[in-house]
Subunit: 228 residues, 2 copies
DNA sequence: CATAAATAACTGACTGGTTAGTTATTAAAC
DNA sequence: GTTTAATAACTAACCAGTCAGTTATTTATG
């Protein structure tokens, strides 16, 4: 009986709505609840934003009652914060490790990072997080501060270091590393924001074309002797 | 009495809070109310977003009671929409007219547009509108649709035309005009979004440096024979 | 092993505070 | 005195967070 329940769980993230599963209402699965709740919260927050997100909807998506949310998270804000920590930080970690072990031109590494963003992040609910943060920053300054310290600054430092390395290796022309890092990152962030807000209405927006143009302009603009 | 009030009004946008004025509570100024309310709404919406904006705060800022808002605007959403129409569309009109009468290199014209953005838009409450739209797009799809049709598509068409002209005149290299227009516009929009959300916490962000790097990369990247 | 008591996960109806929108009333204007 | 701008008290709805009650699971007992 117990093992059956635990196996059933493995398909949960595909469905996206645990309430569909046939298991009874009073299933006790202390281990799995936090993850299920966080994933449900990511979905609701990323599409509605913080203020408009309804905890009843999060609970329904996670297949629990609203009361259960409060067994695992202190408040709506704590849940919001946990979503960011849970889903964003591991991604950065992974990118840093990839760069660490990478041998080859910086240009190609940066191209890899952008490609990974395009194929593995933009498609997922993760892409909703930047919009969520920006939208709620002024109403929840504590969260914005947390995000800048743990995400923005860390990513900026990471990319700046790559640009600096590119200059040292004589791959890139002279430029300000931090601002160039921002120039490189902006369209990545923007593509995520746009996809999660306006792309439904902005029919002409094709993420791939947009990012291809971007990488062409920025990396060709940086690379020395890029004339064919 | 009336003329006194009207003169008093001219300083309103500096103060930003009409409730400070000593005129009596029952002043009847049918002509001026809509503008005052719209400006107050712009301020509140642009800093709080739609959902978190409180009509009581808008009313207080405009120096009226909440009931008065409903004499001039049908609903919160109608007010929101009016803010966009009132403040954004004239700016685009102006930019289009400037371009129309412009004689000289496209590169310089685009530089002008970016400079005007930097010095005349980014400083003002207007810069809060993009964030406001993006943040609320999924909760108010009708508004997002309205914005794409009236603002996004119009600006994209405008800039695309300039890029196309640049290619024809042999100033720019071959490229896709629409995606290049997006590449040019993205950091402008992003600077506005960032300024109205994260810049308080992201201390390293300097709008001028950021946009200078941007224009350098994009326009140098586009311009033919840009080797010194 | 069977059964009962204890514990802890979980539920859902409820509360208190908040706010968009309404309306009865007041005062200004002519 | 009539009309209308403006007010302020009001209502209806909504929702984060609570808690008393329900059920699954574990532990203790014979």
């Amino acid at each position: 009986m117990i093992s059956e329940n635990k196996q059933q769980k493995s398909t949960q993230k595909q469905g996206g709505d645990n309430s569909a599963c046939k298991c009874g209402k009073w299933q006790r699965r202390k281990e799995d609840r936090p993850g299920e709740i966080l994933f449900a919260a990511l979905q609701v927050f990323s599409s509605k934003g913080f203020a408009a997100a309804r905890l009843d909807e999060v609970a329904k998506k996670a297949g629990v009652s609203k009361g259960t949310l409060y067994l695992y998270f202190e408040s709506k804000q704590a849940l919001f914060k946990a979503v960011v920590t849970e889903f964003v930080l591991p991604q950065i970690q992974q990118a840093e490790e990839h760069a660490e072990s990478y041998q080859g031109p910086i240009r190609d590494l940066m191209n890899n990072l952008l490609l990974h963003w395009q194929t593995h992040i933009l498609q997922t609910e993760l892409a909703g997080i930047p919009k969520m943060i920006i939208a709620e920053a002024s109403n929840f300054p504590e969260l914005a501060e947390f995000y800048v310290e743990n995400v923005v600054n860390r990513v900026l430092a990471f990319i700046s270091k790559l640009v600096k390395l590119g200059i040292e290796r004589n791959e890139f022309r002279q430029c300000d590393p931090v601002n160039t890092a921002r120039a490189f990152l902006t369209p990545m962030v923007f593509s995520a924001i746009w996809q999660h807000s306006m792309s439904v209405f902005d029919k002409g927006f094709d993420t791939k074309d947009y990012l291809d143009t971007h990488i062409e302009i920025v990396l060709d603009g940086l690379t020395k002797d890029n004339q064919a």
